[in-house]
Subunit: 469 residues, 3 copies
Amino acid sequence: MTSSTFASPSPDRLFPADPTTRQFARELFSLVEDAAIVSPHGHVSATVIAENAWFDNPAALLVTPDHYVTRLLHANGAPLESLGVGDSGVDPRDVWRLFCSMWTIFDGTASGYWLALELHDLFGVSEAPASKNADELYDQIASRLAEPSFRPRSLMQSFGIEVLATTDDPLDDLHAHRQLRDDPTFASRVLPTFRPDAYIDAHAVDFAARVDRLIDEAGEGRVGYEGYLSAIRNRRQYFIHAGAVSSDHGVRAALSVKLEPSSAMTLFERVRRGGASEQDRDIFEAHMLYEMARMSVDDGLVMTLHPGSLRNHHPETYARFGPDKGHDIPVPVEFTASLRPLLADFGTASGFHLVLFTLDESTFSRELAPLAGFYPGVFLGSPWWFLDAPDAMLRFRAAVTETMGFSRYGGFVDDTRAFCSIPVRHDVARRVEAAYLARLVAEHRLSMDRASEIIIDVIEKAPRRAFKL
Amino acid sequence: MTSSTFASPSPDRLFPADPTTRQFARELFSLVEDAAIVSPHGHVSATVIAENAWFDNPAALLVTPDHYVTRLLHANGAPLESLGVGDSGVDPRDVWRLFCSMWTIFDGTASGYWLALELHDLFGVSEAPASKNADELYDQIASRLAEPSFRPRSLMQSFGIEVLATTDDPLDDLHAHRQLRDDPTFASRVLPTFRPDAYIDAHAVDFAARVDRLIDEAGEGRVGYEGYLSAIRNRRQYFIHAGAVSSDHGVRAALSVKLEPSSAMTLFERVRRGGASEQDRDIFEAHMLYEMARMSVDDGLVMTLHPGSLRNHHPETYARFGPDKGHDIPVPVEFTASLRPLLADFGTASGFHLVLFTLDESTFSRELAPLAGFYPGVFLGSPWWFLDAPDAMLRFRAAVTETMGFSRYGGFVDDTRAFCSIPVRHDVARRVEAAYLARLVAEHRLSMDRASEIIIDVIEKAPRRAFKL
Amino acid sequence: MTSSTFASPSPDRLFPADPTTRQFARELFSLVEDAAIVSPHGHVSATVIAENAWFDNPAALLVTPDHYVTRLLHANGAPLESLGVGDSGVDPRDVWRLFCSMWTIFDGTASGYWLALELHDLFGVSEAPASKNADELYDQIASRLAEPSFRPRSLMQSFGIEVLATTDDPLDDLHAHRQLRDDPTFASRVLPTFRPDAYIDAHAVDFAARVDRLIDEAGEGRVGYEGYLSAIRNRRQYFIHAGAVSSDHGVRAALSVKLEPSSAMTLFERVRRGGASEQDRDIFEAHMLYEMARMSVDDGLVMTLHPGSLRNHHPETYARFGPDKGHDIPVPVEFTASLRPLLADFGTASGFHLVLFTLDESTFSRELAPLAGFYPGVFLGSPWWFLDAPDAMLRFRAAVTETMGFSRYGGFVDDTRAFCSIPVRHDVARRVEAAYLARLVAEHRLSMDRASEIIIDVIEKAPRRAFKL
């Protein structure tokens, strides 16, 4: 976006150009524009909020930790270390200058849209970043970050965030969550989410060590497979008591397998001792996905499933900088046959909620909408990650609604670690829903009365319904 | 849709909002709006028409037997038995009340669109179903069902159905079809379709029993594999004499395999005796697909292929209620390599027609349009099942036309068992074709003269051409 | 298109109907409408240009050699021999008459659009081809072909082609390229492209013979695997000296494998001697893809990858007419895991450029944009072959831009052997870019200032950047 766009972002942004449709979109958006934010899945740190930490500087806030941003800078020639990744010791002002000098590469991207709005709405920036204004913008943002209104707790309030879920290690003591819950001056709900991937990923080199630690700390004296399952169950209860409403599963594939306990026990020991084949490990993970669903039926945690990302695609970058550095690349996913064992046993179980996410658009109409259109336990999550972008969201709606309507939608999930981008991301989602519904109205497929009810349902009620809030 | 929409459905429904494009769409639609309905593939019962049976009640007509409808009610918490499925003995008025109370879940779906128009056009309903008007609507519809004009034969006429194909078991005696054909007072053509799936599905537990019965009844004294093929050939002839123009194949995958007769015979016996592996069964089915194409070349029956649905996904529901209950879920399909053996031998054979359907949109541009754009024997069927919906149909057109034009299209197929929805389904298809062509005209990619010729070709001539009517 | 469209093609063709958006599109298109053509990948013959050959006749120019055209005629019942394919000896006027009589089957296709514009712009045709005007059009076009301005060198100039890359066998002596380069009166650059497929395709029956010839001619005395690699390296240098900037790889799958030299040598000998399994051959090809990337890093040739076409689908047609006859049919492609070994070692290597093409749209958002959005070495090629069409190009932009922006685009590639279609193909690409950008402007996602810069970048700079021109 250029300076003119920055100076005054259009109130009609993301709405269809056709005047009739745009007018419908305006009216529909106005119904949800100011709704409280419910964010049932994301990666903001509860500690940051509990400690009400000051944000360090513009680069540390907006560039370095955001792998949506650093990956595209990297693709255009900026080494990750020059962006401050890996505690490289680079001056954050130099990171910021580099970012500003490359600003135009974000044109047309979701990240570019979010960043532009953040800069304008939050920091009062009125011209596009560039080399020539980089220092000026840095100072302008830095001075804002020094204001008390820019500390996390104030932002929670000014952002209108009613519920914010974090993602947490099963052995986390959830100290920050309890601190926030017990603080009478803090109005929002910050909920932990139980993410057991690290203790189920049978391909990880430190699987055995992690599992041993888990059993030691939470197995209540039980050992082996029995201790393992008990420890997971215990920690789920611990999370539930701290306010958790869901468990999150970032699995390789959506495969589920039901093993008899004795087979599972044998397989667990083989995987743990390191003698298991690749296939053994896959089956163990698939079995544990099944077990997680069983536990969800028992304890009521909503289950979110995020399959289909080949993590850490570039080995050298992973070795130098660790995970979440922008080179997790999607692969094709199969849901229908893969989830069958799980859904056969739990798909119609009372209170079971499974929210499915995908990076593979071909599954929207082919598998996901038909599954959510039959199983009461299946909800379809909002477009995820690379697909959390205006055009992709419209494709999602067009692909799934004709099969499953609006009722099976799991609500928007921002899934972000970029705290300051939360309002903008929800703004985009609301505008896209308005744009889609406006088209249905303009094409006489829906009345404005119903579209008005639906946008409120989709924005306000869907996440509460799917995540039992 | 709300009451206002119900009271007077817009004549512009499903047309693009842009005024110029919409005007083109109106003009194009007017050319085919009143064209006779040709329905070359569907699941209406010929017996119902032959016997001119009265429809039972609103629930039995519009809810209970329609798995497009019951699946979404089920996903939203209505047990299938509460919808009358499985002869549950529930009062149809209670089924209707439940349906009306959940009416809004169909907003935005193809089923919701069809139902709303049916209720309005056929039954004079002028407000959206809801709990408060459920009994009133029930009585209103029930009183219409008691009128002679609502018996099937009258509806065939008032719907303007010129040809209606049913789907039939190879051992069906086609009594109803012959009765209709021989009735000088009945103007429409009701054609049987030869669907041999049950006698080819080598994974079915009763495969051997079915095959034995087929050979007994139609093998003319031949036994074994020879008797099996003879019986199929005989029954195809029987169908052809009763007016059939096509055979239908609802296969698991599109795989075709050419086996030498001796290998095929050996495999047939192994499958029949029950000692065959999963792979053996798959290969047998693939071989029989090849054989069905060979027979099509010989006897001229058009071959329709519907692969890629994992039937009866939820075992418990299948056990309780049987097939076709809304939990057939699509899986990815591969056509290019799979169909190669079949097309290598028959793809350019004189008079061979293979109409391909898919639930996997990713195959539209990747495989299906290129195949239909080379092989004279391949026609591309209209968007099927979950994809038989306005936006999906537009995606289909946009995905295939640039590669294969309009000439390789197999015509619209309503594929329905919901008799009263036939006119509405064809109305939607015609409106979508008009909307698509109108865009091409507005973008100067086609003249109105040609678009006018094309919409008539696509709606009126394509099904007659592909299905040899 | 009908006569009216032919008589005066609209200056607004391919622009969105919405008046505001269309106005933006007009303005954006005007910025690149007259830009010089850079065509970094295609199949025009350098010899034809070097010899400045006269084109034979209308059929030989526009119908017979263009498998985009003949395949659709074939699908509609025209035998390939009746179209002059395979030197059938058919009178070209009869070919032309048949083509004209079937003209309307191209409505809505990319080929139809290109042909109509070519006929109008190049040959002054003002009415749609049909049986009734076939002879007249033939004579009109033939008389133009006899004018000096229709010889290839004149057309290069009048088309405004600055760079044109051909595709060449590694053992080609590139005589024509050197002749053109050394001709001071010839202003355009005609560059060879190194396409080693025939010497890497381990499934080809004559693989061993080809490899032997390659080693004999270019191995400089080395033998076996060492001679093989040396010969390839030598010929790459030869191409580079003749102006080549890229190597082209039309592989079956995108699979890459890194083998140790000793394993590679053993495998090479096994494949060469004919004792290799199918899997061996696949692995050899995957290993050679890896080696080609390694050589690219060394010598700087840009690497273009075109996987996913099952070549010569119909065996009988292949046997009678040879390759490139319109029955290469796409199959699903996987890039993420397949390219990982190659990208692990070369994806961030200095100067390495890998331009990826696909016929499988499902990979646009799922794999290709994320890969190009991280690896500095990966560029995303323009929509290829069946996808080189207006709607498909718009889907491409909508699918990839939100993830990778505009900077990772490899520029438009016409990939054609139809010399006279080059200007029209680039015209379509420019109009589609304008249409897409105009929508982003109309939806306030981009300012006109930036859209104006972007369209120039995408059309003029992107191909030069990706192909190092």
